[in-house]
């Protein structure tokens, strides 16, 4: 099959329409009493078949084979093509009745696109006719001076414009008069199929309805012309025909009331079919539906590799892949046929060399087995190890679509490893994901080499890992590697075995957690860095991680080591030992951590939030003292003695100062909580970066603090006060959204009210933001999508011009780089 090389866009000439047309539509009747389409109606079978079993009267093909054929309507009088209204106006303005151009040719040539900035000549250079201003009266009537110009006159004038003049005015490959329709093309019935409803009624397409309108008015118009009806009737009918033809092309013209369905819904005519998100372009052409895909809920499985995806067996039996039988694989394929379509590694179809497809069912499988020989193609089930493409919407970056290897499993959900949640942005509260099964060898090879999860560990955004351990894996990792954690030989053996670590010899009776951890770190790794639990200076043993020859000699391994974005250790393994090693490391370490966590147990409880009475007292005292400072500030302000900061009023200044004080309280309470909190699950999670922060802890067991709306304290509500519980003009913290209580002790009604305001703002913000940033993404991608790196490292855009002479200025692909550099350790 040949490929389409280019597409030419042109206006159709009346002659061309006549030529393309197989019939003239002459009657507005659609079906006769027997519900058979009437000859010469808009559903005439000569324009294609839409009913199964019928044959096309033009080409004789069946439904699905016949592409449909155009018809036409001879318009009683010409009408303007509303889509070209702007151009018609320009042409009318710049051409004389005699067809001469009313502007200097050199001037037009100078600015071919901005002709409207040229004033038209006052007098026609050819015939000397005086120019009168052309006015467009919406929707589609033109006036020269004060006299109306009919579409017929427009057409006559345009006919006189010479080809070269038309070219000059920007009409290329067509004639200006073609913008005035004398004959209307009728699209084939296959373009506008009618739907048969359950009760046997036919429901016609919107286009058909519109065409019927056009034909009906056209007929009436022609009849009236023939009998020589009075001018005003002719004019009215002409206008009505213009309306119907206009709305047939576009039913959303600002100055025309849209043509409506009986139900009041406006009709979806030609323009509406193409336009916007659900139009032909974006809905059907740049996004297409596919076969060999599946969708279901995802759930976690910590025991499969990050490269794998657990596929429900019932999906595996539905999705197939064509395998060509050869002498070498025929015995394997025969096994699949024997299993049939209902037993898992089975097969659904065979394809004979002549292209005949045969469905395998339990009754026919014996017969098919006999017939099956090399050269036949078997469509076998998806089996373990097949490559599939996995996706979660919204597909915001390329890591939203990655290739996995299949692992067929029981039950109904897709299973994914927890480390790939981050790139997909998936959680398990009911998220669904899509799976696609590439069918050709090329597609599978590409998917495997370029899209496999391990190939995407390093994000192209910043050159660091996007896949890594999260949440409990971080707390667990810390618990294993913190100082003085010890495991017995038996435990180590079991843990390693469950993680799939093989070929290790356990010589010692006890192992430290760090030694256990080091079993899965490649031996060539040498790094050192500060860990997340470290607070400033490297005081404690846990604070600074040192890994020598793959052995952790010091430091606690937390989110700084293995999490997405930060994970230095993970990053180093990926960088020095390759993606496969990084994948193996992740697979094994997560299983070790799960195993250890299952043995040790890890939880948080309300008890974690209990602070010593002295801590609570300190917080209360601190708040009191700060409140006094604020009170003093307000006092000075009320006396008018505040020094206004430049460009701000005294009231604004005092507000700024109060905000600073109140924010300080929050920071100070955080510090108090941090030093006063006892070692607990919650604290470990916050400190290691597993989940939550000291701030969250402070909210729960210290105080909630200032609630801000739109970046400032809360002032909305009643006049000069937020609630009727306060005095008017009260500037004190409590009157403007400061909450002294903590979540654990429970916030009061007033605090609750302020908290609700803040919460509401957050929700509105995020729902608004997704829309805005979604559109930004669409625009950015659309603007940049055709920029591609060439073989000589240049970045070309779609028009073939160079955007960057060396892509990225140095040719470095961030997704292969060490955080955008050659080597992170070399500081520039």
């Amino acid at each position: 099959m040949g490929t389409i090389k280019e597409i030419k866009f042109k206006m159709l000439s009346p002659q061309m329409i006549q030529k393309l047309s197989v019939m003239e539509v002459t009657t507005s009747e659609v079906y006769d009493v027997d519900a058979y389409p009437i000859d010469g109606g808009v559903m005439d079978p000569r324009m294609g078949v839409i009913d199964p079993g019928m044959r096309c009267k033009t080409c004789g093909e069946k439904l699905g084979e016949c592409p449909g054929h155009f018809g036409h309507i001879e318009l009683a009088r010409p009408v303007l093509n509303i889509l070209f209204l702007k151009e018609i106006k320009t042409l009318l303005t710049y051409s004389c009745k005699c067809g001469a151009i009313l502007a200097k040719k050199e001037d037009i040539a100078k600015k071919p696109l901005k002709i409207s900035s040229l004033p038209p000549m006052k007098v026609c250079p050819e015939c000397g006719e005086k120019y009168e201003k052309i006015k467009l009266e919406k929707p589609s009537s033109f006036y020269r001076g004060k006299t109306a110009i009919t579409a017929l006159e427009v057409r006559e004038q345009f006919e006189k414009i010479s080809d070269s003049d038309a070219n000059l005015l920007g009409i290329i490959g067509g004639r200006p008069e073609w913008m005035v329709l004398t004959i209307l093309m009728v699209p084939s019935v296959t373009t506008r199929p009618s739907i048969t409803l359950e009760n046997g009624d036919r429901s016609e397409d919107d286009l058909t309805h519109k065409l019927v309108d056009v034909v009906r008015i056209n007929k009436r118009f022609a009849d009236n012309l023939e009998i020589g009806a009075p001018d005003f009737i002719i004019e009215d009918l002409w206008e009505l025909l213009q309306y119907h033809v206009s709305t047939y092309f576009n039913n959303e013209i600002a100055s025309i009331p849209p043509a409506r369905h009986r139900s009041g819904r406006s009709l979806k005519t030609l323009s509406q079919r193409l336009k916007s998100k659900d139009g032909r372009f974006r809905h059907n052409l740049s996004g297409k539906r596919v076969n060999f895909s599946a969708r279901t809920v995802v759930s976690p499985d910590p025991n499969i590799s990050i490269n794998e995806v657990g596929v429900p067996d019932r999906i595996a039996k539905e999705l197939t892949i064509p395998i060509k039988a050869t002498k070498l694989n025929i015995t394997e394929l025969q096994k699949y046929i024997k299993n049939g379509p209902n037993v898992h590694p089975g097969a659904n179809y065979i394809v004979k060399p002549d292209g005949m497809r045969k469905k395998i069912i339990d009754d026919t499988k014996e017969m098919i087995l006999e017939e099956f020989k090399p050269g036949y193609i078997l469509e076998r089930h998806m089996i373990d190890g097949d490559i599939v493409i996995f996706n979660r919407q919204p597909s915001l970056h390329r890591m939203s679509i990655m290739a996995h290897t299949v692992k067929v499993m029981p039950h109904k959900t897709f299973r994914i490893n927890l480390c790939v949640c981050k790139p997909y942005n998936a959680d398990f509260d009911g998220d669904e994901m899509n799976l696609h099964f590439p069918q050709t060898a090329e597609a599978r090879a590409e998917a495997k080499e370029l899209m496999l999860v391990q190939e995407n560990i390093r994000s192209p955004r910043f050159g660091g890992p996007i896949i890594g351990c999260d949440q409990d894996y971080i707390s667990g990792s810390y618990l294993i590697t913190k100082k003085d954690t010890v495991f017995s030989k038996a435990d180590v053996a079991q843990i390693l075995a469950s993680a799939g670590v093989e070929n290790v010899e356990l010589k010692k009776d006890t192992y430290t957690g760090r030694e256990l951890y080091s079993f899965v770190i490649p031996k060539s790794i040498n790094v050192s860095y500060r860990s997340s639990v470290c607070e400033g200076v490297d005081e404690k043993d846990d604070d600074y991680v040192v890994i020598k020859n793959g052995q952790i000699t010091q430091g606690a391994v937390d989110d700084k080591s293995i999490s997405p974005f930060k994970g230095v250790l993970l990053d180093t393994i990926d960088f020095e030992c390759g993606h496969a090693a990084a994948r193996l490391f992740l697979d094994q370490i997560t299983r070790i951590i799960s195993e250890v966590m299952a043995r040790k147990g890890f939880t948080i409880s309300v008890g974690d939030l209990d602070m010593d009475a002295s801590v609570d007292l300190e917080i209360q005292k601190h708040m009191d003292s700060k409140f006094k400072v604020v009170e003093k500030l307000i006092d000075t302000f009320k006396k008018g003695k505040i020094d206004a900061s430049p460009g701000r009023s005294q009231a604004e200044t005092v507000e700024d100062l109060i905000m600073i004080e109140l924010n300080n309280i929050t920071n100070d309470v955080q510090k108090i909580i941090k030093s006063g909190a006892k070692e607990s699950g919650a604290l470990i999670m916050a400190k290691t970066g597993a989940r939550g922060s000291i701030q969250n802890l402070a909210y729960m067991s210290g105080m909630v603090g200032q609630e801000a709306v739109r970046g400032r304290r809360i002032f909305r509500g009643y006049k000069n006060r937020t609630l009727s519980h306060f005095k008017k003009g009260d500037l004190m913290p409590l009157a403007h959204g400061f909450v002294r209580e903590s979540f654990k002790e429970g916030i009061g009604p007033l605090g609750f009210f302020f908290e609700a305001q803040k919460g509401r703002e957050g929700i509105m913000d995020s729902s608004l933001k997704t829309r805005v940033s979604g559109y930004l993404q669409r625009r950015l991608v659309n603007a940049l999508q055709d920029i591609v790196v060439s073989e000589d490292m240049k970045a070309y855009d779609g028009t073939g011009s160079v955007v960057q002479f060396t892509a990225g200025e140095d040719g470095i692909d961030p997704s292969k780089s060490d955080r955008g550099t050659l080597d992170r350790t070399i500081h520039v």
């Binding site: 090389k5 955004r461 700024d656 993404q777 055709d786 790196v789 990225g808």
Partner: protein
Amino acid sequence: MTEIKLPGIYDGMKFTKEKRKELEAKYVKMMYTPGEAIGVVAAQSISEPATQTTLRSYHAEGRTQLVTTQGLPRLIELFDARKIPKTPTMSIYLHKDQNDKVHAAKIAAKIKETKLIQIIDTDALDLVNFRIEINLDKAQVKSLEIDVENVCTLIKKSIKNINMTVEGNTILVEPKKEEMTIKDLQSIRVKVRDKYIKGIKGIEQVIVEKDGDDWVIKTLGSNFKKVLKMAEVDTLRSFTNNIYEIRSLLGIEAARNSIVRETLATMRAQGVDTDIRHVLLVADAMTSTGDIRAIGRYGIAGGKSSVLSRANFEETVKHLTNAAIGGEVDPLKSIVENIIMGNIAPVGTGSVKLKVKE
């Protein structure tokens, strides 16, 4: 590639022979694969974090700082290539001999646009003598070093038919014309009050900040042209966030650099880590024609040569009708067109013109 030269940032760094070899080897490995769709990757790298993180649009801390547009709104503003940003700001650096707090404060005061109203203590209509009496704030006049006589001549020039006389700390404004109503007098008062008397027009707020070893003047409002003319200003380091000002004063390369700087600064301020190369590409795409083109329907996307690609983005019908009138030909050379046609798009592995033998 025959000769490997390390990226420019490593120029002038000393490496041992082995280390250099190692780095060169790494460099070659890190190069882009031909066919890589860097445009899409760049676009995604910028907009994906925009959807994920909470890109705040205002300062959470009520510090006495300039309130500038931040986060997502600022990003959109940059990519839309708005003529004037919502909050234009300048960062003005000073020459070495002026680089201290005292000088900076002085220059800041000099830059700030002052209107007469700001130095007025009280003003009133004197109906007996039919004139306006303006009492100036002594302290303000002194601290802003205002020459009152000068101010008067300046105002007289811009408002017709008035006479101004200075009496110590008071300015008397008398209309020259007879037959004035009180309403007219009032309108003169409003006009006079709002007169610009000092500083650079458009600079609403100034703040002096310490940035490392430097004293920087940050302004709200931008008039880069005037600032660059000031002798005290270190023109090499000062900048404005108004891309178009930079475009007209310093050229397209400078504008391109400022798009990069502004975008990176906006993203970094939100804690988003994005490789500079993505931002470079966006900036280059926006400026490669020599003019600033916006991301969106009136800029890059609307200026594409392919009809189908444009029709696919926005304003489908408009692009199709215009194509029909102009007799346009879509050569189907780029990505979207080929997806629409159902062909293999010329990116990545699709850019290789080899076929597997059936």
